[in-house]
Amino acid sequence: MNDKQTTRRRFLVAALTFSGVASGSLGISFLRSSAAWAAATDDADNLAVMGRLAQLLFPHDGLADSVYGEVIGEVLATTAADPATDGLLAVAEEALDAAQDQAWIDLPESEQLEAMIALQNEAFFAGIRETVRFHLYYHPGLWQHIGYPGSSKEHGGYKFRGFDDIDWLPETE
């Protein structure tokens, strides 16, 4: 794990705490060994499940599937590296499948959403939701899609680049 990944993981842990997900709220029974999950993630089907889950968690029309795919790659690296979240995705997949008695990935969208709603109050669900949220909304591909340019100091900020250019408001005088 490089420096950037390390700093991002620490920030994520803070984010999870912020959202009430971390700090021991994840039951140990949800957790599995990282080795088991690392083996499972070699499976393309698992990646497809997680990519679909990310899409339904935070849908963005027109956002390339590849962005969700890269986000899931980062989510896997993050969760496997942290004992607090290791194994969450395997648990999620199993729970999603169990919710409808068949492979969740093969269900129509409405039933996929039903399964997610049924599980949304589980601690592992919140753990995945916040991990995906973090990696998706710090992903440059997502930023490009929504028109967020990120760092501005190297461009001299917005003092001469439209910080006050709004022109559609009613007169306030």
Binding site: R8, F11, Y138, G147, I166
Partner: protein, 510 residues
């Protein structure tokens, strides 16, 4: 130039913490020729270390030591949380200093008191603090430039009938002043100002103190305990250096400014046979009455572009709701402040998942935002304690933070969300979210000033009731929270406290 003091030099004042309270107090004392050592747990960054990336900056300057319970969003770095704050600097109002007299005791679980000082007494120090920090719209400093997000808030405010809306009272230079540049509207104020336009003690108070020859900063030192003698006077501070080796720095007086969690922890962790409940805790009030303001946040998708990421993160305030108007269904008041968020924050504030959430980041360029901060009645049960068995890497007991909203705060939050909705919908917002924003960046109480020593930990100077050479110098001394963002008041109180300490030294009573 920076001094170096010996560990056994008992003539120095030791200040724990280098943020708004500690950094200011240390510099004010040094300017008067008083020798000061400032212990700071974090490291010393430079402006070149500041990048526009929140996760990277959180790793560089956030406080990540183990804590249990409610999150507190503070910094471990030279400059403390002045590196992260957004620079909004309203004053506490006159009636808010008399919270109990004004509101009455709200219920059995509330512990309202009046401050043992008045606005009139603090006014000259507010003016000094505003001059020191370069608060926009005060003295001859122009108001802050109006960002797109501010303009949306101001236009909506006018439509709902608000009158007191201003882009002034920001401790961010609108134009170059006091060796610091004017704001370039970079954004990312909360991850450290990359050019130093926003006031932070890192590049104001600390280097100014070093120039006096009466000041030594010891960064990367974690204060773990305050020692005292048989007479019950503080005699020194034990700290761990970067290698974990413990040292004791002798002291003439000690001032604690570690933000509420660390301030509570060091007092409670310094228990002795003489002070079994911790230092300055004969009242059992240390760690209690922890306040963090009523907070709400609101985001709206506007009909046309706003681009609220462009420019300073916060740029102005609506003051119309700051008054005590009990007919609204709650005591005290709140301020509504323009605020922006990055895409992650935008999604995280809204919370949950699905299209109800992603509609906000999806329409990021059209999103506008406000947040409200208001009076938070003190409750003895909102407190910081030490875990009985868990220890951190320094071997210190892990702090446990317990905080629950007061019913008054919930009623106020509902009101603030409704008003935020009206502001944005008056301009045709297509989607709105408003609700709780439990960020834990305004931290007050835990060693509050009180006229009666049974009701609090410190007197009107921030001097502890029990130990007369032990001072508290951060937001911990707030008797009540008021509505205003706390930093300006912390700085004003620190300047005032420095005058008091110097006077006592001249009188040879310290």
């Amino acid at each position: 130039m920076s001094k170096q003091y010996e560990l056994d030099d008992s003539s120095v004042v030791v200040v724990i913490g280098s943020g708004a309270g500690g950094g200011t107090l240390a510099n004010e004392l040094a300017q008067k020729g008083i020798d000061v050592i400032c212990l700071e747990a974090g490291s010393r960054l430079t402006l070149a270390d500041v990048v526009n990336d929140p996760p990277t900056m959180d790793a560089k300057m956030g406080w990540h030591d183990k804590r249990i319970g409610n999150m507190v969003w503070v910094c471990k770095t030279v400059g403390g949380t002045t590196m992260r704050w957004s620079g909004v600097t309203p004053r506490i109002q006159e009636h808010e200093f008399r919270a109990l007299s004004t509101y009455g005791q709200l219920d059995d679980s509330t512990a309202l008191i009046d401050w043992p000082l008045t606005l009139d007494e603090l006014l000259p120090y507010y003016e000094k603090a505003e001059d020191k920090m370069g608060v926009s719209g005060t003295g001859n400093i122009p108001p802050s430039a109006e960002t797109n997000n501010y303009k949306v808030m101001a236009a909506g405010a006018k439509r709902v009938g608000y009158k007191k809306v201003s882009s002034a009272r920001m401790a961010i230079n609108p134009v170059a002043r006091a060796g610091r540049p004017g704001c370039q509207q970079i954004g990312f104020c909360h991850t450290g100002c990359a050019i130093g336009a926003k006031w932070s003690t890192l590049y104001t108070e600390i280097p100014a103190a070093e120039l006096t020859g009466h000041f030594e900063l010891r960064a990367n030192t974690m204060a773990v305990r305050i020692n005292h003698n048989k007479k019950g006077k503080a005699t020194g501070v034990v700290y761990a250096d970067a290698d974990g080796t413990l040292h004791e720095q002798k002291a003439r007086a000690v001032a604690v400014a570690g933000n509420v969690v660390e301030t509570s922890r060091i007092l409670l962790n310094s228990s002795s046979s003489r002070f079994p409940g911790g230092l300055a805790n004969s009242s059992d009030q240390v760690g209690r009455n922890y306040m963090r303001h009523m907070f709400s946040a609101a985001l709206a998708v506007m009909p046309k572009p706003v681009n609220f990421h462009r420019g300073a993160r916060q740029t102005g305030v609506i003051y119309d709701e700051q008054y005590h108007k009990p007919e609204r269904g709650f005591a005290g008041g709140y301020d509504i402040e323009a605020i922006s968020a990055d895409p992650w924050n935008t999604s995280a504030w809204v919370g949950g998942w699905g299209p109800d959430n992603s509609v906000f980041p999806q329409n990021y360029t059209h999103v506008a935002g406000v947040f409200s901060t208001g009076e938070d009645p003190p409750q003895a049960s909102n407190r910081i304690t030490l875990h009985p068995t868990e220890r951190d890497t320094h071997g210190l007991p892990v702090p446990v933070i317990e905080y629950r909203d007061h019913a008054n705060s919930i009623a106020m939050r509902n009101h603030s969300v409704e008003m935020s909705r009206r502001i944005f919908e008056s301009l045709g917002a297509t989607d709105f979210w408003g609700g709780d924003a439990p960020v834990g960046c305004h931290n007050m109480g835990v060693a509050r000033m009180s006229a009666n020593p049974d009701d609090g930990v410190t007197n009107r100077w921030g001097q502890t009731h029990d130990i007369d050479n032990l001072f508290i110098s951060d937001g911990s001394t707030f008797s009540t929270s008021g509505a205003a963002n706390p930093t300006l008041t912390i700085v004003a109180l620190a300047i005032r406290q420095a005058d008091h300490i110097a006077e006592r030294m001249t009188q040879k009573t310290l």
